[in-house]
């Protein structure tokens, strides 16, 4: 163990280090616990005073450049924005997940940067700007539509927190949030190409709303919200040609040529990422938010079971040829049976959780400025159906 020379209150940093081509090893360093010190200050202290071979990234020291992302006690954080005073016991510092480790805490983020290129996360005006053109002004409302998404600092914490990015080919949270940022920009005319790319197999559909990207984002960009809005826009974009035949195609000639602008990074992400660390089957046990997500997802089993039970009850109540009293008697016996009671007792908490989480996520879609009419129609239809069923039952 290497230690600092002063006798102040200290904190142990257990840093997972990795030489190029070698296996990761945890090395402990003891540093002074100063109230104003961030993890980045401690890393710099170790490099200056204890071990000059330690490698890490850092630049602005004020949460703007996004270069000092690391995992602290399992959570992706900016090293400059996380303070030693909050540490309890040894603080485990690791490189970000899902990226190849270059050395110690430095990871290669080429794959994530490639996603930005593929999604054309830059302004694509309808007509190219020429010298002497008047400025393209925006109203405050037009600016507000995308401003929060433009706050992304490309720190890649959301990529590290996103299990779907680690599990499979996925364009990733920040790139998709930035795509939505440009789609919402009134000066932009490139949304058709972006939606085409975002609607592909490795695009928005890979997102299962785990929500950890939003939790760890130091710039409060809310990538999960952006992706849900992009899903609605992509769904609208995908099915619009089916419901409006004969209209002009969505991606015109001037924009579709740009879809070839993906360059060499259009290869599968697993190939591009070289040696990203594999995720085992029990990855979801690592963090509370992942465990919560898996419990939420498991409610699907009870949803299916209860749907089948509903159909069974309806068949009992509608069986042809029998008088209504006999049908009612059979259905009542089925309802009060121990099996049905057990199903109800188990299904209730799970479906209540499903309802709670679903209705918490649904408003994210409604806040989209894009395709709002489609979203409202999509949600209004089931609501009206529910009201009709309840009204029918009460009448």
């Amino acid at each position: 163990m290497m230690s600092a020379s002063d006798d102040e209150d200290t904190v142990v940093l257990r840093i997972v280090r990795c030489e190029p081509g070698g296996d990761p090893t945890a090395v402990e360093y003891t540093v002074p616990r100063r109230r104003s010190w961030s993890i980045l200050d401690a890393l710099q202290h170790i490099k200056d005073r204890i071990d000059p071979t330690l490698s890490f990234r850092g630049s602005c020291r004020m949460g703007i450049c996004g270069s000092c992302g690391v995992k602290a006690d399992g959570t992706p954080v900016l090293a400059c924005g996380t303070f030693l005073r909050d540490a309890r016991g040894p603080l485990v510092i690791e490189p970000l997940d899902h990226f190849p480790v270059e050395r110690d805490l430095i990871v290669g983020v080429d794959d994530a940067l490639g996603s930005l290129t593929q999604l054309q996360t830059y302004l694509r005006p309808a007509t190219p700007a020429r010298p002497g053109d008047p400025p393209r002004r925006q109203t405050p409302a037009q600016l507000r539509a995308y401003r929060h998404y433009s706050m992304c600092i490309n720190c890649m914490l959301c990529y590290s927190a996103c299990p779907q990015y680690g599990l499979d080919d996925f364009l990733g949270p920040a790139a998709l949030a930035l795509a939505q940022r440009y789609n919402l920009d009134s000066r932009d005319a490139g949304s058709a190409v972006r939606l085409e790319r975002a609607g592909a197999r490795d695009g928005v559909w890979r997102c299962t709303v785990v929500g950890t990207c939003t939790e760890v984002c130091p710039a409060k960009v809310q990538p999960a919200t952006a992706i849900q809005q992009l899903k609605v826009a992509s769904a609208t974009h995908g099915i619009r040609p089916l419901v409006s035949r004969g209209r002009a195609p969505l991606a015109d000639a001037s924009t579709s040529s740009a879809s070839d602008d993906t360059g060499p990074s259009s290869a599968p992400a697993s190939e591009r990422r070289r040696d990203h660390r594999a995720m085992g089957r029990l990855w979801w046990t690592r963090q509370r938010s992942y465990r919560r997500y898996m419990i939420r997802e498991s409610t699907a089993l009870l949803t299916a079971a209860y749907a089948v039970f509903l159909l069974y009850m309806a068949v009992l109540l509608c069986a042809g040829g029998l008088p209504i009293e006999a049908r009612v008697e059979r259905a009542t016996r089925a309802l009060v049976s121990p099996g049905a009671l057990l199903l109800h007792a188990i299904a209730l908490p799970f479906l209540a959780l499903h309802a709670f989480s679903w209705l918490r996520i649904a408003p994210l879609l409604l806040s989209s400025g894009h395709s709002r009419a489609w979203v409202v129609a999509m949600w209004a239809a089931p609501v009206l159906a529910a009201v009709a069923v309840v009204a029918g039952a009460l009448s």
């Binding site: 599990l167 499979d168 085409e196 609607g199 592909a200 197999r201 559909w205 299962t208 992509s234 769904a235 609208t236 974009h237 995908g238 099915i239 089916l242 085992g280 089957r281 997802e297 498991s298 409610t299 699907a300 299916a304 209860y306 749907a307 089948v308 509903l310 159909l311 009850m313 309806a314 068949v315 109540l317 509608c318 209504i324 049908r327 009612v328 259905a331 009542t332 309802l335 009060v336 049905a340 109800h344 299904a347 209730l348 479906l351 209540a352 499903h354 309802a355 679903w358 209705l359 649904a362 999509m378 949600w379 239809a381 089931p382 159906a385 529910a386 009709a388 069923v389 029918g392 039952a393």
Partner: protein, 117 residues
């Protein structure tokens, strides 16, 4: 062309998933509570409740509505079970089971309509 078709199928699948999710979130907890209350109450109350349901299901629109609810709920569940298998890293099971679940969910509509004719 293939990418467009894939994108459209993803979009359609997701819209059906969304509709199923909304319906189940709005209706299933209420239906389960109603079912529990009926099952745990006096038998005559349970019978009365079932009688009301039978009368309601005599209307064709109610039967169609119920079949739509069950189909969308199963589609929603199929979509999420497929994702669950993906998350748990069972690629082979997902490749075999997920399409089967979608087919079963889609088949619930004609089967339900035939059974509730």
């Amino acid at each position: 062309m293939r990418r467009q078709t894939s994108s459209r199928s993803h979009a359609l699948s997701w819209l059906l998933f969304g509709a199923g999710g909304t319906l189940t979130a709005l209706l299933f907890p209420a239906l389960i509570i109603a079912g529990l209350v009926l099952a745990l109450s006096d038998p005559s109350v349970a019978r009365e409740g079932m009688h009301r349901a039978a009368v309601l299901l005599d209307a064709r629109w109610a039967r169609w509505g119920l079949v739509a609810l069950v189909t969308l709920a199963l589609w929603h569940a199929a979509h999420r079970i497929g994702l669950l298998l993906h998350d748990l890293r069972f690629p082979v099971a997902r490749r075999i089971l997920a399409p089967l679940l979608y087919v079963m969910a889609a088949a619930a509509a004609p089967i339900g309509l035939a059974l509730l004719r």
